[in-house]
């Protein structure tokens, strides 16, 4: 559906994006992550048709932003980085006028507006001027504008920038609700925001794509081992000894209270030892009250992929 082949964008002599290649389908929430200056915003602008690429190919449902500019842009809902809007307008005016710019007939505009107001939670401020709204509500207006034409693709540049945790969570929930039947591309430098929202991450560094995968796939690419933590009622030494004998387990640490032993198992990357541990517990007559996989935080994974400390 979205195909990007060797997309390159230069500003003067400097490459903001170099040979970016990927494809994506509807239903995906694609996260463009990376440090400042890695080319996220440039990529978002290229995908939205705001900028033209220096070289490379980009298409949406077979439409090119150069050859079929109007049809291409009609497929996209775009929220720029600062969620700009005409501040002197009321929310209702802004949305109605934007619908007209999108070429929507009045009847459909009204229906769509009703829908986006509900999705973005804008009903309380329908008659308020945009310049009087809080940052969070202005961001919602931007999101509503991007969503108004019910686009097949949404490109959101830093949708939670400058928002407090509660507002960020509201925006994230809204994005998740919009996932059905469309492709959403989110450019963000806040990796923690991408986690739990994005189904797939493209990690950019100095304009190049350094990693592409789901958050779990990216985790598996960093570090040689994974960690499983369990709380088991049993003899501490026996737990240590038996767990060490499990297949793929490379190291065992025990601690915790006298009765409940907290055991941390480091096992080889890409293996799942939970079933083996359960079978062992049944065989030995142990009780397990907690079992969880310790996953390294995504920011640390991304830092590791970018060449920083894991």
């Amino acid at each position: 559906m979205m195909t990007v082949v060797q997309l390159t964008r230069r500003f003067g002599g400097r490459s903001a994006i170099q040979d970016l290649t990927f494809s994506a389908c509807e239903g995906e929430i694609l996260g463009l992550v990376g440090p400042n200056g890695s080319g996220k915003t440039t990529t978002a602008r290229l995908l939205a048709g705001v900028l033209e690429p220096t070289s490379g190919h980009l298409s949406l449902y077979g439409r090119s932003p150069l050859r079929d500019a109007i049809e291409y842009r009609a497929l996209i809902g775009y929220l720029p980085e600062t969620a700009p809007a005409w501040g002197e307008l009321r929310v209702r005016e802004q949305l109605m006028q934007w619908a007209a710019i999108q070429g929507m007939p009045l009847r459909r505009s009204l229906l769509q507006m009703e829908w986006v107001l509900g999705v973005c939670g804008l009903e309380p401020c329908l008659e308020r001027r945009i310049e009087t709204l809080s940052r969070g509500y202005r961001q919602r207006v931007g999101l509503a504008m991007a969503l108004l034409s019910n686009p097949k693709v949404m490109i959101l540049d830093e949708p939670t920038a400058g928002l407090d945790p509660l507002q960020s969570e509201t925006i994230r929930e809204t994005i998740l609700r919009l996932r059905q039947g469309r492709l959403i591309v989110i450019a963000t430098h806040r990796v923690e925001d991408a986690e739990g929202v994005c189904t797939r991450l493209l990690v950019l560094h100095q304009g190049r794509l350094v990693a592409d995968g789901t958050p779990d796939e990216l985790r598996r690419r960093t570090g040689k081992t994974e960690t499983l933590t369990a709380e088991i009622r049993g003899c501490r030494e026996l737990v240590r000894e038996r767990c060490r004998s499990l297949l793929f387990v490379e190291a065992v640490e025990v601690g915790g209270e006298e009765e409940w032993v907290r055991v941390t198992l480091r096992h080889r990357r890409g293996t799942d030892i939970r079933a083996d541990l359960f079978r062992l517990a049944v065989r030995e007559g142990w009780e397990i009250r907690e079992l969880r996989e310790e996953r390294p935080p995504l920011p640390r994974v991304i830092a590791s992929l970018l060449g920083g400390s894991p």
């Binding site: 500003f11 602008r45 939205a48 048709g49 705001v50 900028l51 033209e52 500019a69 109007i70 049809e71 842009r73 009609a74 996209i76 775009y78 720029p80 600062t82 700009p84 809007a85 005409w86 501040g87 002197e88 307008l89 006028q97 007209a100 710019i101 999108q102 070429g103 504008m145």
Partner: protein, 245 residues
């Protein structure tokens, strides 16, 4: 063309209800009114037509240029400043539709703001309490010329304003470009002014003089229309260039 109409309507209504437009139009009306009053006062008893008193002074045209520069700023520098130009560039709208829509809105705002000039003559007659015929044909001809010249200045302003990203430098550049067009006569060889042929086309001050006397010259009409078309085309190309910058 429906998108042009929609953009034109939107931009016109948006600007019309802005306090900044009302304020600048009020200042323009007050200043031109004062200028008219001063011209009437200074040249009383001399053989000068009403049209020349109203439109004939250099100060009047500098006021027009200043006001057109202010109104033109609404087109692109403010959009760049507020970041909304990015929304336009991502919208399913062609560059020429955006330029034409915005130009039509600015031009109509200028027309609207200069309409009070038509009231000055009846006001003067009422104040003097002497019945004399109002030269409506000359006044409307001069106004039409003013709208044509203001249209050209607005088209130049849009093109120049697209180069600058902040309102103040854009205003200064638009004003300077307008001054240059008005006083091009001072920069060209003397013989052109004596035997103006194609040189007339670029000399706004001469055109303004003719229109002020109520004379409609087809050369001026062609020059203004061609100039407008050229600068609008230039604006479209500059806007397209923003996608490459």
């Amino acid at each position: 063309m429906s998108r042009v109409r929609m953009i034109w309507k939107r931009e016109f209504l948006r600007a019309l209800f802005q306090p900044s437009y009302a304020f600048s139009a009020a200042v323009f009306t007050a200043m031109t009114g004062l200028n008219f009053w001063k011209q009437v006062h200074d040249q009383s008893g001399q053989d000068v037509t009403l049209n020349l008193l109203l439109f004939g002074s250099l100060f009047f045209w500098v006021l027009v240029l200043l006001w057109v520069s202010v109104v033109t700023l609404r087109t692109f520098p403010e959009e760049v400043r507020s970041g909304t130009l990015e929304l336009w560039l991502a919208a399913p709208v062609r560059e020429w539709e955006l330029v034409l829509g915005k130009f039509a809105a600015v031009w109509l705002l200028i027309v609207l703001g200069t309409l009070p000039l038509a009231v000055y003559a009846p006001l003067l007659r009422w104040a003097e309490a002497q019945p004399w015929p109002i030269p409506w044909v000359e006044i409307w001809t001069a106004l039409a010329g003013l709208w044509g010249i203001a249209g050209l200045l607005a088209a130049v302003g849009m093109a120049v304003a697209l180069v600058f990203e902040t309102p103040l430098p854009a205003f200064l550049a638009v004003f300077s470009a307008g001054l240059l067009l008005f006083f091009a006569e001072s920069f060209v060889p003397f013989r052109w002014t004596v035997t103006p042929r194609w040189g007339y086309s670029v000399m706004l001050i001469q055109q303004a003089g003719d229109w002020s006397r109520g004379v409609a010259d087809t050369r001026s009409l062609v020059a203004l229309a061609t100039g407008m078309a050229f600068f609008l085309f230039l604006s479209v190309r500059l806007l397209q260039l923003k996608r490459l910058r």
